[in-house]
């Protein structure tokens, strides 16, 4: 299927990488988002938190979570094993 939209993901080497990545491999929706909700308070405001999740719903639900909770979705980038890591920044 051809993606014909303005959405484009470009990765740069200097993309931020969080110190802490929650491992939610193998977990189904909404478990990775619940993990984000439980642990976001453990990083300082302005700091990054990542969640590694192979459930396809996470690609949509991490940015939606950030929008609804007033946090910032920063980037999606692959971990060494290829599993996507969704990086968010704590804003509040």
């Amino acid at each position: 299927m051809t993606a014909y939209s303005s959405k484009l993901t470009i990765h740069f080497d200097d993309d931020p990488w969080p110190e802490r990545v929650l491992d939610c491999r193998g977990q189904l929706c909404p478990a990775p988002i619940i993990a984000l909700g439980r642990h976001i308070g453990e990083v300082a405001v302005g700091e990054l938190l990542g969640v590694a999740a192979d459930d396809p719903a996470a690609r949509h639900d991490v940015p939606a979570w950030a929008r609804m909770r007033g946090q910032e979705f920063v980037v999606e980038r692959p971990a060494e094993d290829g599993v996507p890591v969704y990086v968010v920044r704590r804003i509040s």
Partner: protein, 371 residues
């Protein structure tokens, strides 16, 4: 106190309209024969089908010869969309469609060739300029856009944009037929009877007289616009239901709009909820919302236990395990989702009972998740 179960999933299938039930029973007796045969029973079946065609044409404000009956809404989508494409294979085999189309449309477009998909905004409305541009791409021969979205209710701008190069427009109107007047500006359009209170297994396909259309499936005469093999009695019952629904839609639609407005406002008071779709320019009977940190399957199961039947677009609640493409395309939360759609008889009391239990159900599921 015991309460009767409340069915809130008419966007999947509406209970049979009383007008359809009476017609179905009468027509079953006389409509058994093959309407193409020249004997008396065949002529009776043909008369019933002609009657159905007349009723549907009048209810939808189209010409009788533009109405074809099919064996399902999905079949109407396939014949309509691919029939426009089959008449233009000299130019290619690509279909441009919005990212929020029903699976029946995307499956048909994928089966036909390599489709071109265009995005939608946060309310689920297609970027119509993108659809116009996509329709000019090499090999694109048909554009497809729904009249209104089946999951979130948002009405699409059908008829508001002209397509270039004579590319025809197919409209999937399954979610809105009977509930809203048909839009303008289409070449073929499909509807599904069980979405408006007719029997299941009856589809309506409208093809404009001026439109080029060729049967995309094996057919003796590919240019014949004769009906698909149809259930004659069911088709007449579907027509009776459509006539009744169109006659009642001013009153029923206004009542449903007010109830959905009430639900949208009250659900928005529950913490961490995404109430999605256009709040105004929408289907009258339907609303979708998603609760953060909530498992959609648990939500639907618990509401069912309490007597409320609703659908979910969350991955965990459907057999494909994929999240709703519609919610994903809109950037809406895909987990913890429920779609609520009213019957013509849903009362304020039913809605109040639902709204009374919903916050507690959501809170208890979140509590179990430790949030």
């Amino acid at each position: 106190m015991t309460n009767a179960p409340v069915y809130l999933d008419t966007a999947s299938s509406e209970p049979l309209h009383p007008a359809a039930r009476a017609t179905l029973l009468a027509a079953l007796e006389h409509g058994y024969a093959d309407p193409r045969r020249l004997h008396g029973p065949g002529r009776n079946a043909r008369l019933l089908l002609d009657n159905a065609r007349e009723v549907v044409a009048e209810a939808l404000a189209v010409r009788r010869e533009e109405v074809m009956f099919t064996s399902s809404g999905t079949r109407a989508v396939q014949l309509g969309l691919l029939g426009l494409a089959a008449a233009r294979t000299d130019r290619g085999r690509r279909i441009a469609h919005s990212a929020v189309e029903h699976q029946a449309v995307t499956d048909a477009a994928n089966w036909w060739g390599e489709p071109v998909e265009v995005g939608a905004d946060g309310e689920g409305r297609v970027y119509d300029g993108d659809l116009v541009e996509a329709s000019t791409m090499p090999g694109v021969t048909v554009a497809a856009l729904q009249s209104a979205n089946h999951e979130v209710g948002t009405v699409q701008p059908v008829g508001a944009f002209p397509l270039a190069n004579g590319v025809p427009l197919f409209v999937d109107a399954c979610a809105s037929m009977g509930r809203l007047p048909l839009p303008e500006g289409w070449d073929a359009l499909a509807g599904s009877a069980h979405k408006w209170g007719g029997p299941s297994g009856v589809g309506v396909l409208l093809v404009r007289r001026r439109a080029r259309w060729t049967n995309p499936f094996p057919a003796g005469d590919p240019l014949s616009r004769a009906d698909d093999h149809v259930d004659v009695a069911g088709t007449l019952a579907a027509a009776a239901a459509l006539q009744a629904v169109v006659a009642e839609r001013g009153e029923v639609g206004a009542k449903q709009r007010a109830l959905i407005d009430l639900i949208r406002a009250r659900v928005a008071d529950i913490p961490d909820v995404d109430v999605v779709g256009d709040p105004v320019d929408r289907l009258p009977h339907l609303v979708t919302f998603s609760f953060l940190y909530v498992d959609g399957e648990a939500l639907v199961t618990e509401l069912d236990r309490l007597g409320f039947g609703l659908a979910s677009g969350s991955a965990c609640a459907v057999d494909t395990r994929e999240p709703s493409r519609v919610l994903a395309a809109m950037g809406a939360l895909t987990h913890g989702n429920i779609r609520l759609s009213l019957t013509r008889e849903t009362t304020r009391e039913d809605v109040e009972r639902f709204l009374a239990v919903l916050p507690g159900v959501v809170a208890s599921i979140r509590e179990r998740a430790g949030l």
